[in-house]
Symmetry: C2
């Protein structure tokens, strides 16, 4: 029952070919800090992507098919227009785009390249030194392609590896005639950031990326984002993180202008928002924080900016400040393994007459499942917990865009994919309106006397104290209770706060019925320096636990 009409494939070429045909003059802008700015558009990008196809052929790259990976092509780059071209050209050729997190330790980067067995390495010229180390250790890499804004370049050589320059390859190439691939051809590969243990490999097919883009695009068209064809997108999620949450695909799908800001310079990003009329962007809470509290920020009118936040819990104070500045915020939730988006805090039909405050409260949740995503929240025996917004369980998910497995790790794979569901390892509650509230990573839940305390929720409560800049709560072994919470608090610059004040403040919240008394931390440690972060900007609790070897009794 298969024919070429009936089984028209969900492949990435459908997005960029269409954009070139219907939205040829809509801009795709390459705007690295300080410039020079390159103003391309969908017609020109389609031409460059076709030439990239021929360049890949010249480099000896092999296409794959369902069940067989094409050549893995590693990329070390910021958010640039060439990275955008690789997002399309490599998968459309049938090869696998391996986006590499440049913020990982070199040791971990090398580990991921060894796992992926990449054949070609595309690098931004900022990473030439790193690439030398990498190629000396990862013997599968035979070719390096350097991406630079400079048309003139010095000779660069690598031991045992051929060096090419991206712009030379593109300039000399003919437009490639991309094949009609099966939608089940693997398109991308990337590794989890690995707050626990080594990075784990995940991969995604064309079909998965197209369906993810469709579902997220549809969800973003709902309030509070009301995404629109008149929006201008600038991905601030690094493109080496899970498809920049799909924004380069979504923006192409709907045919809107895109702006690529290069490496991340927040003063420059603020200027681009104004100069290029950017209206929609994304990032972890830290990125939103950077935009709001940059010294230049007060100079800019950010009203109407649409911000998709995710990656770690959104602090209430940050949401309130963003709202004060007129920014529309939606929170998304997902994992590298889920491509990433599975939940989004879009509004529902029954909320039309809700006051704005009540609607905004839901933006602090992880959201509703987006179209085509099924979820459950289950206890240790796999039974659904009550949807009461209180009872904690593990979030499990089914969707057309979950990675098939962890690369080279059948044991971890068996552990995560059980009983027909992918297990997220996140502890959540589900409320009666359908919004999921992530309470903790399973490993960060504090198990005190048989009850669970959500470290994230407790952090959220402590962060409402006006003098608190940052807070992390960790579980510390306790002889009687098994574990008890300890809070590490960083006061705002120029302000002071004591353990006593924090404990009194929390007792006030207890009296207001906002938390149980037994959640009050056994210890509050005040520190002056910023908390240690992972490469994705999340507080690194592993390091914190090592640093604060606290004994409770």
């Amino acid at each position: 029952m298969s024919n070429q009409y009936y089984d028209y494939q969900l492949t990435l070429d459908k997005l960029i070919r269409k954009a070139a045909l219907i939205y040829p003059d809509v801009e795709v802008v390459h705007a690295p800090p300080g410039g020079p700015i390159i103003r391309s558009n969908y017609a020109k990008e389609w031409d460059r992507i076709q030439r990239l196809g021929s360049a890949l052929e010249e480099l000896g790259v092999s296409p794959g098919e369902p069940g067989k990976f094409g050549s893995r092509i590693a990329v070390l780059d910021w958010n640039t227009i060439r990275h955008f071209e690789l997002y399309y050209g490599v998968p459309m050729y049938g090869a696998v785009l391996h986006t590499v997190n440049v913020l990982l330790a070199p040791e971990d980067i090398i580990y991921t390249l060894l796992q992926a067995q990449d054949e070609v390495l595309f690098i931004n010229e900022d990473f030439i030194s790193l690439a030398r180390i990498v190629t000396s250790l990862v013997k599968s890499i035979k070719k390096v392609v350097i991406m630079s804004d400079e048309l003139e370049h010095e000779e660069v050589s690598f031991d045992g590896v051929k060096v090419y320059w991206y712009e030379d390859l593109i300039r000399d190439a003919r437009p490639y005639n991309f094949p009609e691939l099966s939608e089940n051809t693997v398109a991308t590969m990337m590794f989890t950031s690995g707050t626990t243990g080594r990075p784990k490999g995940t991969y995604f097919t064309h079909r998965q990326l197209v369906l993810h883009a469709m579902s997220v695009a549809l969800s973003l068209s709902a309030p509070p984002i009301n995404a629109n064809i008149y929006d201008v997108a600038m991905p601030l999620v690094p493109m080496f993180h899970v498809h920049a949450w799909g924004l380069p695909y979504i923006a192409t799908l709907v045919g809107i202008k895109q702006v690529y800001p290069g490496r991340f310079d927040w003063g420059w990003v603020l200027k681009l928002i104004k100069d290029e009329g950017v209206t929609i962007t994304n990032g972890v809470p830290t990125i939103l924080f950077n935009l709001l509290y940059h010294p230049d920020s007060p100079k800019y009118d950010l009203r109407g900016l649409k911000f998709i936040v995710g990656g770690s819990a959104l602090p209430r104070g940050l949401l309130e400040e963003a709202s004060r500045r007129g920014i529309h915020v939606v929170q998304g939730f997902g994992l590298t393994e889920t491509a990433p988006v599975i939940l989004l805090t879009m509004e529902k039909a029954n909320m039309r007459n809700w006051p704005e405050d009540r609607k905004r409260e839901l933006v602090l949740s992880a959201g509703l499942p987006i179209p085509l995503v099924d979820i459950r929240v289950v206890d240790g025996q796999g039974r659904d917990v009550p949807r009461d917004g209180k009872t904690m369980g593990e979030l499990v998910v089914r969707a057309p865009w979950i990675t098939r497995e962890y690369l080279n790790d059948p044991e971890k794979t068996r552990n995560a994919w059980r009983d027909g569901w992918f297990h997220t390892d996140d502890i959540a509650v589900w409320d009666s309106e359908g919004y999921v509230w992530i309470m903790d990573r399973a490993k960060d839940v504090i198990k005190s006397g048989g009850e669970w305390i959500s470290s994230t929720r407790l952090e959220d409560l402590i962060s409402t104290h006006p003098a608190v800049y940052e807070v992390a709560v960790i579980g510390v072994p306790h002889p009687k209770w098994g574990e008890r919470p300890v809070a590490i608090v960083v006061p705002k610059p120029g302000q002071k706060v004591t353990e006593e004040e924090i404990r009194n403040y929390l007792m006030g919240l207890v009296n207001e019925g906002k938390m149980p008394k037994w959640w009050i931390p056994d210890k509050v440690v005040i520190v002056e320096s910023e908390l240690p972060k992972t490469s994705t900007g999340k507080v690194d609790k592993k390091v914190l636990r090592e640093r604060f070897q606290i004994t409770l009794e």
Copy 2:
């Protein structure tokens, strides 16, 4: 490379299950003319659909699989809540929902049922007499299920056919545990309206319906419709026409309130729009006309209503009147064979600063290809015609939701599916902005001296004359030119117009550069009665050609 996580299927249960889980209290309203109104919601509908599953099992219905049709279930019904339940329950069971156009001649209805070999017939009680005729001739039908709003009912018997009552079946049934189907299971079957020859059978899989709903929903979120989660949908396209253009699926996908108006009574429909807060609906131009010119219409404030028009060309005067009433109109284009939507007149990113008039002009086109749809406009040799908005060619299409074939008609199938593309048999021009303008059905193009005249375009021009109510242009054999156009004109009630006046008016348009002089019809026939229509409300040119046996010389 197949596993249950990776290959999560695009099946219709994903839409209604999710709606019941996340939008349980959002209303689904059954509102037949004069009432009584039944207020259901997604949670209750999910319960009734599960019971319908058990009823289908009790009726001995067989599920299908890819490559093998399940039992065909024919439905004769208006736009009711039970029809909505069948839209989900029958395909989710694995059977094939055959929606029957009740406006076809009984002979054609019987023809389609013989072609489909339906096993069970679900009928609105309005169609008991028709069903008696049908079942006496279509021997594959063993069971009839009568759908009625009355809970008490008299005994009804059919010769040789068992009779059931829908509400009795549902009341007595347990919730059915629907199977996890392959997305390539056939879900629906329907027949083209057959303006030429016998109706032709088409069919669609779960995957096709889900992808169609996603793509149309995303397109409708763009201006000028700006569809939103706060919309309230009422399908006015009869549900026996190509999935009511997908609206019952789209509304469920995004979780908005739905209203089903029963058989079509335009005064009642206007009242429902007001009483139920309906904001989005759809239909052929005649339906829009009925809403605007109904005697009760002036009593109603239609500002903000969103109307998706299609099925035949939208007259300019109708669009202008709708705009005056504050209705937002978008035109869609498609065929029964295309599920149906492939084009929609959504706006594009580069039109932000266009004046409203210029944007509205594009609503008169057939639109842009929606996401995942590829099109070409080709000449007789299969070569792309220039995208100049002038050169005519045939519109050909590829999309994930084209029917696989014409049922039992390999010759017609081979003729339509050629060179990798589905041939629409529609003559179009494509403009530089990407909008397609349908000029004619291939058979209605008038070939005059080797050049093509679009009868539709000529009708559109003649209809701008202030005294013209309706117009049709047909090609009439001509000894010298091969064919020449003849116009049949119906003046507005109470107004008069002569052939002379129409010809002078057109000469004025020629002088303004709006049409070539050789397009002026050789004859203009003024008639007082309405033009004959097909069951889908289109002017029946076959009948017109028979009625006006004109000889030109």
